[in-house]
Amino acid sequence: MRDADLTVIEEIRGGNPRRFALLVDRHKERAMTLALRLTGERVEAEELVQDAFLRSYQRLDQFRGDSRFGTWFYRILYNLCMTRLARRKGNVELLPLDDDAGLDALAAASEEVSALEQLEEGEMRTMLSDELNRLPERFKIPLTLFYVQEMSYEEIAAVTGLPLGTVKTNLFRGRNQLKKNVLARLHEEVMRS
């Protein structure tokens, strides 16, 4: 299917630059969600999102349409966020990585039940959102791009510049870690009450 954004970009190139507002409206919430998850600070996230939109407009000539506009745009935003995070020494990263043995033993852990399903939707959202924010960057980024930006593995690789295999691994491990953390927190809350 043709990327709807491409039509808008053609209109912009055809002499209607104000149509850029449509692209901003389409992507601003997802962009904000990504920037906020990465930086954890609203004003800073908003500044980065605005900057990313400005840069994408100024570089629109360089967009060749090989990928979706979203992939290209989020790469700009991602790079801006990473540059900003790199300046904040000591705040980036990282929790220790679980070893694979633990992950593959997952099937045996059947007692974990579908506790996730027992939570009310509101509680679940809050808990998931908190736990997602607490994940190390290498897990949080692919998970956010996958679920918020609705990107494929390949698009995530294009945005982050990581090999496809690394993206997959981080996505899988991130999901595992997230599930474990949510279950652990759920367990704590049950014990407390």
Binding site: R18, V49, L54, Y57, Y147, F172
Partner: protein, 187 residues
């Protein structure tokens, strides 16, 4: 599927969830899930997590974000009055410098000295006098320097041209500064 323990791996379950298994492997995994309650529960757990993640709300955005972007790119003719006013500031600033330069050049040339009007108005205040003197000295110094190195310029033409250029540079600089701040600060 793991051959060691005859259970699906976490990676396989997630790849199935994401629709990323090759047909043959997918058939194997699906077959196994039908027979293995443990893997089936693990898959259901991932599936539940996946569904919840997809439902996570997006972050709210400041309502003026789109407008701010358009303003910064100067794409919107409906920009706010304040913004349109601010767009004038750098150019007003540049114009002020130009007018100041011309006035200084006239003062320097002595065109206004001892005219009836000047005598009627009287002596300017000390502060204005000091500013005029500073501008005049600057103009004279600059013009003398220019005409020394570029003799084809007259002193006055050199002074005025250079200050006009300076006015343009100042205007552009302030313009850029304000434009940039509008992107970041306008709420």
């Amino acid at each position: 599927m793991s051959t060691a323990n005859l259970h699906c791996t976490s990676a396989q379950l997630q790849a199935k969830l994401d629709g990323r298994l090759e047909p043959e492997e997918r058939a194997q995994v699906e077959n196994h899930l039908r027979q293995c309650p443990s893997c089936s529960r693990a898959y259901a757990s991932f599936s539940s997590l996946d569904a919840s993640l997809r439902k996570l709300p997006l972050s709210g955005v400041n309502a003026s974000l789109t407008q701010n972007v358009l303003n910064a790119l100067r794409l919107d003719s409906r920009a706010s009055l304040l913004y349109r006013f601010l767009l004038f500031v750098p150019y007003a600033f540049g114009l002020l410098i130009v007018l100041g330069t011309i006035a200084a050049a006239f003062l320097w040339s002595g065109a206004f000295q001892e005219t009836p009007a000047a005598q009627t108005i009287g002596e300017p205040s000390q502060a204005i006098g000091a500013v005029s003197e500073a501008v005049r000295s600057f103009s004279v110094g600059l013009a003398q320097w220019i005409s020394e190195y570029f003799p084809f310029f007259s002193q006055r033409a050199a002074g005025i041209s250079l200050l006009l250029l300076l006015a343009l540079l100042c205007g552009a600089g302030v313009d850029r500064l304000i434009g940039r701040k509008m992107v970041v600060r306008t709420r």
